[in-house]
């Protein structure tokens, strides 16, 4: 498979590229670790960011270096003369491909290996606090599953070996993508364009999918769960691109973390398994590249794309992209559906001819006009299918409401809340507690959903109006639209999700308000209430308190007696007291929510309303284990102040109503007293 003589020759020819990559790695990834300047981050932090694949320079090099290597090694395919010379050598096409591919791979792997060896020079963790900020990165936790103490050596042989493997996989995956691009092209510029397109392939599909859904599909507002989940799955195929584009965090570590944490069962996909997927994907791309390279006809050397069917497909996709972009642009410009279709037609035509210009490397492509009818016809057919499936709900996708016997539970929160990415790992372990299982609640939930589906025409009109209103909305402008989310968790383990945005009146008329006012629904986002067995302490923070004095606390860390900042803290650890107190907080929360909802219904902004909060946090940095979890409940209780500001829309009475139960309990149980 490999011709050693040719491999050596290629390495000899391009060693300078390897040296350049080494130089860049030295300059951007090694020097800042060992020669930290005043301006740069500390060495310990820097090496951590490198090891976690979170370093922007490494990110850039991993994207660009493999591309440069591919462009150079396979440049011979771009001219008939060089193709003839290389293919006349005593090599078969597989030997030629694999010798070239291996040579290219070595050109960036060798510098990476040398860099890893240099990074073995010990660096100690000296700046724990600064590093701690980065510890939320899942990758850090993977590197140090037992944590790391200040003063310990970060770059042990094992951690550096792990870094090398991950970096090699990332570089190799991108290399394989570029090889695939080069295998179907015969022109350097087109190779680069296809390389970029392959990078964005999944993202592109997602964006188009999201746009189609947001415009045509009732029950999809175009900005949330389906898209989020889709993005999470693109992480499986794309370690860099998706995270770079969507979160601007390189190498996807944050994204990987989210992908893992927000899956229905947290941890179903361990961190390392993603890397296995990347390896498999690399081999898949490599296989594709090998197949294309060995099947390509050498007489097509210099052609933009050497396979005619692929060329047609690429031009069609490029034309669709042009159609999509100009359509979106026209919507933004004219806020009109007609303008969008005009944009589609113009965009498709312009992109079609532009693509041919690039493909044929000539401006004279008018002779392709007759094929435009063929290509345009396909696009039109595709558009009609999309409209049929989405707008007219051809397959009954939107109308589907499961039978109550199939439903295990329902959720009216966004998946992101449901899966608890804000609350961290422990909340994720409690996600089942957020499911609404009361039969009456489920029926009310389904009734509201059915009301929407039954009046689909009105609902769809609102949906489209909302879309254009959202587009035209100025920053800071509030919307009178209410979002309704319907998630059914079915007995077979699957889920069904819909999201709608409607004007407030419509939301009330379909029963959304009544449903949201149910106690079980209001308390659903606070799963801790259902698992008080896990709660070991409750910390209560009294805000703006000059009227109450803390009398006792289970834990006295010296900070319980305020002011200076008019804040008082007290902690409960007694099991019975915790349960009693939380029962009262629940009453307050329900009252708080109902009050807010009523205010909103009457058109009063609830922005200044206080809220009884019950957050949980987890101080552990290790992986979660429900049985061992240390859980603390943290409550903030704003206290009405004597210095009441009449400008606020919130009355003293409102404060007192909302927190009456919790405050009364604390006073009754001797934790607080009123200052006269």
């Amino acid at each position: 498979m490999i011709n050693v003589a040719f491999l050596k020759e290629q390495l000899k020819r391009f060693w300078l590229v390897s040296a350049l990559i080494m130089f860049l790695l030295l300059l951007s990834c090694i020097m800042p670790v060992y020669v930290p300047s005043r301006a740069s981050t500390a060495g310990a932090n820097y090496i951590m960011s490198i090891m976690a694949g979170n370093n922007p320079f490494l990110f850039l090099i991993s994207l660009v270096a493999p591309l440069c290597v591919v462009l150079l090694i396979f440049a011979y395919q771009n001219s008939s003369r060089s193709t003839t010379a290389i293919n006349a050598l005593p090599l078969n096409s597989r030997q030629l491909f694999f010798s070239n591919a291996l040579a290219g791979w070595l050109l960036f792997i060798i510098p990476l290996a040398i860099m890893s060896l240099i990074l073995l020079i010990p660096v100690r963790l000296t700046d724990a606090e600064q590093l701690g900020v980065g510890f939320h990165l899942y990758a850090y936790k993977e590197i140090f599953p037992r944590g790391i103490e200040t003063g310990a050596v970060i770059n042990t042989p094992l951690t550096i070996f792990g870094f090398f493997i991950r970096a090699a996989i990332t570089f190799s995956l991108y290399y394989a993508i570029y090889l695939t691009a080069a295998s179907i092209t015969g022109n350097g510029v087109v190779t680069m364009l296809i390389s970029g397109s392959l990078q964005l392939f999944f993202i592109g599909i997602f964006i188009v999918y999201q746009s189609i859904c947001s415009f045509y599909v009732l029950g999809y507002d175009g900005s949330s769960v389906m898209g989020d989940l889709f993005l999470k799955y693109t992480t499986l195929f794309h370690p860099l691109g998706s995270s770079f584009l969507m979160t601007s965090i390189p190498l996807g570590t944050e994204f990987v973390q989210e992908a893992i944490n927000t899956q229905p069962k947290s941890g179903w996909l361990p961190y390392w398994s993603l890397w296995i997927i990347y390896v498999l994907l690399t081999f898949a791309y490599l296989g594709l590249a090998c197949y294309s390279t060995t099947r390509r006809k050498q007489e097509h050397a210099g052609d933009s794309i050497v396979f005619e069917p692929v060329k047609s497909a690429v031009i069609f996709i490029a034309s669709l992209c042009g159609m999509y972009l100009l359509g979106i642009f026209f919507i933004a410009m004219f806020s009109s559906e007609v303008a969008m279709y005009a944009g589609f037609a113009i965009g498709f035509t312009v992109a079609y001819f532009t693509s041919w210009m690039i493909a044929e490397r000539t401006l004279n492509v008018l002779y392709k006009a007759k094929d435009l009818i063929k290509f345009g016809g396909c696009a039109l057919a595709l558009l009609l299918i999309v409209i049929g499936v989405t707008r007219f709900d051809l397959f009954g996708f939107e109308r589907k409401i499961p039978d109550i016997s199939e439903v295990k539970g329902v959720i009216n929160q966004q998946h992101t809340n449901y899966y608890g990415d804000d609350e961290g790992i422990i909340t994720a372990t409690l996600h089942d507690e957020q499911i609404l299982t009361n039969e009456e609640t489920i029926k009310a939930f389904m009734a509201a959903h059915k009301n929407i589906i039954d009046d689909r025409k009105t609902a769809f009109r609102h949906h489209i109006d909302n879309m254009f209103n959202t587009m035209e909305q100025q920053p800071g402008q509030t919307t009178s639209y209410e979002t309704m989310q319907f998630t059914y968790l079915l007995n077979d383990g699957t889920s069904l999700y819909r999201i709608y945005s409607f004007p407030y009146d419509y939301y009330i008329s379909v029963g959304g308000f009544d449903f949201d006012a149910r106690e079980e629904v209001i308390l659903a986002p606070y799963p801790t209430y259902k698992r008080l067995d896990l709660v070991k302490e409750v910390t209560i923070e009294l805000f703006d308190s000059q009227e109450y004095r803390v009398l006792k606390s289970s834990i006295d860390d010296g900070s319980i007696y305020g002011p200076p900042l008019y804040m008082n803290y007290l902690t409960l650890t007694n099991k019975e007291h915790i349960e009693g107190f939380i029962e009262e907080v629940k009453k307050d929360i329900v009252a708080d929510h109902l009050y807010s909802m009523e205010q909103e219904r009457e058109g009063i902004s609830s922005n200044n309303l206080p809220s009884a909060e019950l957050d949980i946090y987890n101080s552990s940095t290790t992986k979660p284990n429900v049985a061992d979890a240390y859980m603390a409940v943290y409550t903030r209780i704003p206290i009405p102040t004597k210095n009441y500001n009449p400008q606020t829309t919130v009355s003293d009475q409102a404060y007192l109503n909302i927190h009456d139960n919790a405050l009364s309990w604390l006073i009754d149980n001797g934790y607080l007293e009123i200052v006269e």
């Binding site: 003589a5 050596k8 003369r81 193709t83 003839t84 010379a85 006349a88 005593p90 090599l91 096409s93």
Partner: protein, 299 residues
């Protein structure tokens, strides 16, 4: 040694090779001639394993060439349009060839380099086209090929080097039984070295024959008659003789005729010419006449 059977190659609807047949014996020098665009380079690229055929076979030693490393190691190929790795010297390329071709002969390489007066450390891309060709000859002949395939080998070479090149090729043909397939437009040079010739037109082999046979089979005849007869009358008397070309001026006719010389002479005598001269034909003339008729007369 070299066998091409019904080879077909289509480039985006254009038939470059149309069921082409070709045969070259071991130790022979084969001249491949044809007008521009007749498919010479295409067939050569099949025989060097660069192109994959759409149909038919391109065989060397009875084995397919495409993707056959063993066969490709025995082939020396010099294309018309040379390509070298940027900044490579002759010696650097020699090093690569020595590693890739088992039969590499370093002494022969030095000897040829000396014969051409080239220094091994010269950068290939800095040499003139002629010198590049000489360097390629040094390299390709040093791999001791069983088959050498040359596409316009003497194009750009001065007459002295041209002779030198041809003599070193012939040396290997005679000494080692090397088979050579040469494509060229320089038919005079070809005439001196080829054992057999294939004339191509529009992707097909118009004629393929030993050069001597070809020359004895095609004749240029000048005839003069006492009376200026009509062309039809003359032609009716020549029934059975294949005329490739005919020009009549008054009572004098000049014809290019295919057939055995004795038969042709006997037939022509029946027309009672006053004068009948059989003139010698060059390969170039044969090529011109054969390609003009497109081999239609060659049945």
């Amino acid at each position: 040694m070299i066998t091409v059977k019904n080879l077909t190659k289509i480039f985006g609807g254009f038939i470059a090779l149309d069921g082409l047949n070709l045969h070259v014996e071991r130790g022979h020098v084969y001249g491949l001639v044809g007008v521009n665009g007749s498919g010479k380079t295409t067939i050569i690229k099949h025989l060097t394993g660069i192109y994959r055929q759409d149909d038919g076979d391109a065989l060397i030693n009875g084995k397919p060439v495409f993707d056959n490393v063993d066969i490709k190691k025995r082939i020396g190929y010099i294309p018309d349009d040379l390509y070298f790795f940027p900044s490579y010297s002759i010696d650097m390329l020699a090093k690569l060839y020595s590693n890739m071709y088992a039969a590499w002969n370093g002494a022969r390489y030095k000897e040829l380099l000396g014969a051409f007066g080239l220094a091994g450390n010269r950068k290939l891309n800095m040499l003139s086209k002629g010198m590049q060709k000489q360097a390629m000859f040094s390299l390709i002949l040093a791999i001791t090929p069983e088959v050498i395939i040359l596409d316009e080998p003497i194009d750009g070479l001065d007459p002295i080097v041209r002779r030198l090149v041809m003599s070193v090729i012939m040396e290997d043909v005679e000494a080692r039984g090397m088979t050579a397939l040469i494509s060229s437009h320089n038919l005079k040079e070809m005439e001196g070295v080829c054992d057999s010739v294939g004339i191509m037109k529009k992707g097909r082999m118009v004629i393929e024959q030993g050069l001597d046979d070809l020359k004895t089979d095609v004749h240029k005849v000048q005839l003069a008659y006492a009376e200026a007869g009509s062309r039809e009358e003359l032609l009716s008397k020549l029934d059975g003789v294949k005329i490739l070309r005919q020009e009549t001026t008054g009572s004098v006719s000049q014809m290019i005729i295919r057939g055995k010389q004795e038969d042709v002479v006997a037939k022509l005598r029946q027309t009672n010419p006053l004068v009948m001269d059989i003139l010698p034909l060059t390969l170039e003339e044969i090529f011109v006449y054969e390609t003009e008729t497109g081999g239609e007369a060659n049945d």
